[in-house]
């Protein structure tokens, strides 16, 4: 099937070449970081995780959201999703790959990364994160590939794939839960010290992931002869609607607890993010933008006549994606580190090289996604068009 990725239009080749160029340039920046050290990023002894880890966290959500197409199709036999499960699974493959790359670029000593296997430490959540992420990557590659191959040959996929599919459902939930546990089990980090982190992560993931999938479906319909289908997109839209409402609800629960209890250790991080603290508040405009986008998305998604208008749906999905990205990919990590444990506000801002390296990781993810989607779409075109 891989050969399908090599046969394409000039536009396709241009797109892939463009991505490779970005990857190449950003790899140069990574070599700079590799040689000089993480000092070329905006990280500090107070905000010791930043843009990389935030992107990792957000993308774990995108990866986990594949379960939103897998579960209805395989568990509830919702046939319509059969057309698009492969898109969800391949999106997960690309997202998990980006997660792993973001972890690697964040390490101070990346060549020692395999020490995690050499000296396994089950007490560390990072150890478990490594296991669940790699496992999830493997599951989605195998399942996606085998099911697509079977579909191509018009046969049923091999029976041994079925248990893997069932396993992939709780596994998807586990990757984001374990990722949440990285943060919410740390004493002295009041912002994260709440049991709602994992549910919040999952709800924002199940909003952002399917929203991205809708955008991809609309895009695929434009560029290929394969139509993911009206019903499929509308069902995804309902999933996005419920998930984004839950996400905002969970956030409001958290805001109530924090501001009613008024414990400074918990409250000051929210103050820093939403109104600024000790005269510093670089993230304030971003956080409010995020809130406005999420509320706007809810308003656009609830009335069915809006949701059924694909232009409105497109705007709503963009709002969901950008809104949750700001919340998780910008605010969540540095907000947890500011103020620091000594109650000092030392702000974090990513630097140019840091953003370039991140861009390279995203380009790698998009490259992988393009290869996989090219294969899937070519086969789907042969079958359905």
């Amino acid at each position: 099937m891989l050969e399908k990725a090599f046969k394409g239009s000039k536009l396709y080749y241009g797109w892939m070449l463009g991505l490779l160029t970005i990857i190449g340039i950003s790899f140069g920046f990574y070599l700079w970081q590799f040689n000089a050290g993480l000092g070329i990023t905006g990280l500090s002894r107070d905000v010791s995780w930043g843009f990389y880890i935030a992107q990792f966290t957000f993308l774990v959500g995108v990866a986990a959201s594949a379960v939103m197409v897998v579960l209805p199709y395989y568990l509830h036999d919702y046939k319509a999703f059969g057309r698009i499960t492969i898109m969800g699974e391949f999106l997960a493959v690309s997202a998990v790959t980006m997660c792993l790359l973001f972890i690697i670029v964040d390490l101070g000593q990346p060549i020692r990364a395999l020490n995690v296997l050499l000296y396994p430490s089950p007490g560390s959540i990072l150890f478990w994160d490594m296991i669940v992420l790699n496992g999830y990557l493997l599951l989605n590659i195998v399942i996606g590939w085998k099911v697509l191959e079977a579909e191509r040959h018009n046969v049923h996929y091999p029976m041994w794939v079925k248990p893997l599919i069932y396993l992939s459902i709780p596994w998807a939930v586990s990757i984001h839960t374990v990722t949440a546990f990285l943060y919410c089990g740390l004493p002295g980090r009041g912002f994260w010290m709440t049991a709602i982190i994992a549910p919040r992560f999952l709800s924002s993931a199940f909003a952002a992931g399917p929203a991205l999938l809708i955008l991809l479906c609309l895009f695929v319909r434009k560029i290929s002869k394969f139509d993911p289908g009206w019903e499929q997109i509308q069902t995804l839209a309902k999933i996005v609607t419920y998930a984004i409402i839950l996400n905002v609800f969970f956030l409001l629960c958290e805001i109530f607890v924090v501001f009613y209890a008024q414990i400074p250790e918990h409250m000051d991080h929210f103050k820093y993010l939403f109104v600024g603290l000790q005269g510093k508040g670089a993230l304030v405009p971003f956080m409010w933008t995020s809130m406005i986008l999420m509320v706007l998305a809810i308003a656009l998604l609830i009335p069915s006549q809006f949701r059924q208008n694909e232009t409105v749906l497109l705007i709503a999905c963009l709002a969901v994606f950008v809104g949750t990205w700001i919340d998780k990919g910008l605010g969540f990590i540095s907000g947890g580190f500011t103020p620091n444990p000594l109650h000092v506000v030392n702000e974090y801002l990513p630097t140019g090289p840091e953003l370039m390296i991140s861009l390279g990781v995203y380009a790698t993810g998009v490259f992988i996604l393009s290869v996989l989607f090219k294969i899937a779409l070519t086969i789907k075109e042969e079958l359905y068009a």
Partner: protein, 264 residues
């Protein structure tokens, strides 16, 4: 032909997986006590080594009048341990340094606190917690609590630089080498290891000096501000001070049980 190549790849893949997974299974197989992955002691102890069941420190802040009284402690420590002097504040590497009461004890702070306390520089360092969160989160056991004497030590050669421990430490006691520290060490002490870029470091309660029978560098030059001793020995100097004075520890509500006590 094609199928045999495929079979070969399958077997090679499974074999590779097995090699990678072996240490993982070894860990789970080792029930209780020390697993085979427990790091070997870094320094061999000699006969004159100072030993304790749990090393602890008492800081008598009544004896601190100004920054001048504590600056020598920091200088001594940082010189002995090749701690670099980084040009940017955000890359600072600190093993022991001064904080105001407000920052050292944010949960005990009050606006109306006495002028004397507000002005006193409080020496802060790794608390060598009895229940250290940094050790719990380390994915490679590069930082661990030494069974023999309770010191939370680091293996700089094993650390992958993930900085999970910086996130877990509620005292800001850990520093990360954002650049190669070599260029920022004024005088190199050849008796102690330098670090490389990309690893975490922190106070080690002078484990290398204890192994040679010498008390920690900061304690040595502290003129009685710092007292060092065994927390488990009821006749030790630290236990005596704790028994006779009212002491506080940093953020006890977090359950980390710091081994550094402050007399205020």
């Amino acid at each position: 032909m094609k199928s045999s190549r495929r079979n070969f790849l399958k077997i090679a893949g499974i074999a590779a997986l097995g090699v990678g997974a072996k240490p993982v299974f070894d860990t789970f197989a080792a029930v209780g006590g020390h697993g085979p992955t427990e790091p070997a002691p870094i320094f061999k102890s000699s006969e004159e080594a100072l030993t304790a069941n749990h090393w602890a420190m008492v800081v008598d802040t009544r004896k601190i009048r100004s920054e001048r009284d504590v600056a020598p402690l920091f200088r001594a420590c940082h010189q002995v341990h090749n701690v670099p002097d980084m040009p940017l504040k955000r890359h600072e590497i600190k093993w022991i340094w001064a904080e105001s009461f407000h920052h050292a004890f944010p949960d005990l702070h009050s606006e109306l606190i006495s002028d004397k306390i507000a002005r006193t520089p409080f020496p802060v360092l790794c608390n060598h917690c009895e229940n250290p969160p940094c050790v719990r989160v380390c994915p490679t056991k590069a930082t661990f609590k030494r069974e023999s004497d309770g010191i939370v030590v680091m293996d700089y050669h094993r650390c992958i630089g993930c900085r999970f421990c910086l996130a877990a430490c509620p005292y800001g006691a850990r520093s990360f080498n954002f650049f190669n520290p070599d260029d920022y060490i004024k005088e190199v002490n050849l008796k102690f290891a330098k670090r490389t870029k990309g690893v975490v470091e922190k106070c080690n309660f002078c484990e290398e000096r204890l192994a040679e029978g010498i008390i920690p560098a900061c304690v040595e030059v502290s003129n009685g501000i710092l007292t060092f001793g065994d927390l488990r020995d009821s006749r030790s100097s630290v236990r005596k001070l704790i028994a006779e004075n009212f002491t506080i520890r940093r953020k006890v509500h977090l359950g980390t049980s710091p081994a550094v006590y402050y007399i205020v």
